[in-house]
Subunit: 371 residues, 2 copies
């Protein structure tokens, strides 16, 4: 394992730039805020800011038409998303969370008896689906630096007869790690006809690394062998609203849409999503707060000698310096809920970012636990 | 065809009891209300009342946690629904509209290579799914009175080797017709092990016919060969919120849940549904308004000599006295949107009920068209 890649062992400019002054906010003021019934939630990759005020205003108005099917508003949202990507509405599939599009793509491939190729470790949505559809699933170990081993995945895919579905979360979850997009893109471009790609870009808007490029450019380039999925859950703080979308060649999207009821979208979610798209100030605030809190955690873990995987998501996979179960218990006693085992071993945890104030409390409690 | 069964040819007590006085509300006051951009919507079986004020209040509060996944609130809703049915939460599967549960049941049966047996005509959800899963679909003609031919369906199912999925909407859509529940229940009770039933009770809460009984009693009786689906779209006026549920034996529900992401429920919808369940006044108002408006339509069609199928839903399938396309055009010119062809022939339309005021305007315009 190339330890230099782990921020716990670096003193990067980014880490030293972390807003240390924020840590001086006395945790004493925050400690009384959380209770057993209202704990600090750092376990589910939710955006702690809550929906933007513009989104909430739009949602309140939308409630007056909660008895109407969302059709027209889904059409509007698809047009807005298409415009943002310089694509056509036919390239967009709006759905109840990107999960539903992911399922639809997998179900389509199940009908082709596809084998799924995916990195280990990654989001478990695809692997869970294989049970229902009796699909083969090949988990390809990641590189020591937790980047996806694109070369090994490509070789594995070439050995498979028949359809292959490659499932890549970029940046990956639960590691947060970015695999440079050029290696993914090059593979998609040269892949044979039997290989189809599902590129899950749930954390797309949170990325700051210049080595990242959305795979949507390939859709624009006319490639028919991929679907890109996106969500309003993360940057727009709408996890509970369940709205996301897929982006693909119009012919591909048309085929995928057969696998879900396209009218089955919540009308409040559709209208809220449209409002969120226009709230650029919230977008920036959401991005900035996530960058700031990640630096706070990097700095803390660095100080404690605990490794972190550099994250381009809204969470950090990091060493906890003890086994997971006692760690969960100890944090729970401090009214903080942290993650569960995500196949990353018993001494690691995927920590969701709270607000700066919330992370100040978390860091204080984490340091006390390790002092 | 037994014409006596069609209200257009009867002078039943129910028809004469219709609130004729309501018709005297001058349509002139209403006619200016609808425009090409804001037409009267009588085409999608939406509940015109809009969500209850209690539901809207709950929804507004819920928006402050739109960034949180719905998990806990789905659990609460499942407990409330279970309590209402004297069942356990494990018997309930809450989902994004009952459509998603219907899909999950079909997908489960697709894995068993099931043949679907359903009446013709019925809701097209199941038939559409067969295309994706390459399932055989047997459409069994209805009786002349538009009741489902349960005997013919049972005989058809007995001739099929392997798994059979019987899809019954009760009361049926788009006919609105009730098939007496005792014949359905008796079949479910004596069916062999290869036959599974999907009983879609979307209009359950709107039924007034004493010959109707929910198939949930069979779930209570321990039967494992059925799933009953319900929705908040109709009686609770929440079509755009997308929330519904399935009811089945705990083992069956556990198997069905594998086919959908149970956490993929909109948090506002879950909370609004819980609030709606407690709003008994709205429930009664919703039921009563639907009964009243149906009687208004029966009376009008009777007067014009146009047949109606007696409906236990929130819509009426009725003769329009002309072909569908020119009818749609003529009503559209009057700023009223009516239904599309639902396999019921070119001289019939499935009309959704509006409010009493809306139906007064509709009836006035319909009568002018036929004068």
């Amino acid at each position: 394992m190339d330890r230099r890649l782990f921020l716990g062992f670096t003193a990067s400019a980014a880490v030293t730039a972390a807003s240390g002054s924020l840590l001086s906010v006395a945790s004493a003021t925050a400690s009384g805020r959380y209770t057993a019934r209202n704990p600090l939630l750092l376990n589910k990759n939710e955006n702690p800011l809550g929906m933007s005020s513009r989104a909430i205003e739009a949602a309140k108005k939308a409630l007056s038409i909660g008895h109407r099917y969302a059709g027209d508003y889904v059409t509007v949202l698809a047009e807005e998303l298409a415009l943002n990507e310089a694509l056509k509405p036919q390239n967009i599939g709006v759905c109840n969370g990107s999960t539903r599009i992911i399922d639809a793509v997998i179900q389509n491939q199940a009908n082709k008896n596809a084998t799924i190729v995916a990195p280990a470790i990654t989001y478990d949505q695809a692997q869970e689906a294989t049970v229902n559809w009796n699909m083969a699933y090949q988990a390809i170990p990641m590189l020591a630096d937790f980047k996806m081993d694109i070369a090994a995945m490509e070789i594995a895919s070439l050995k498979i007869d028949g359809a292959v579905l490659v499932y890549l979360v970029s940046p990956n979850n639960p590691t947060g790690r970015l695999t440079p997009s050029n290696s993914i893109m090059a593979w998609i471009k040269r892949a044979p006809d039997n290989v189809f790609f599902l590129i899950d870009e749930a954390y797309h808007e949170l990325v700051s690394d210049p080595l990242y490029k959305s795979a949507v450019s390939l859709v624009k380039g006319g490639y028919k062998n991929l679907v890109v999925t996106r969500t309003f859950s993360k940057i727009y703080a709408m996890a509970g609203m369940r709205i996301g979308y897929g982006i693909a060649h119009a012919e591909v999207m048309s085929e995928i849409k057969r696998y879900y009821a396209s009218w089955n979208v919540n009308i409040v979610a559709a209208i809220t999503a449209s409002a969120s798209l226009k709230d650029h100030a919230f977008f920036k605030k959401s991005f900035d707060e996530n960058q700031t809190t990640k630096q706070m955690v990097y700095k803390t873990m660095n100080k404690l000698g605990l490794k972190c995987i550099p994250s381009e998501g809204n969470f950090i996979l990091h060493e906890i310096g003890m086994d997971l179960k006692p760690y969960q218990r100890a944090m729970s006693e401090r009214h903080i809920l942290v993650g569960r085992d995500r196949g990353t071993g018993q001494r690691w945890n995927r920590l969701s970012m709270g607000t700066v104030e919330e992370m100040t409390y978390f860091i204080d409690q984490f340091q006390r636990l390790h002092s």
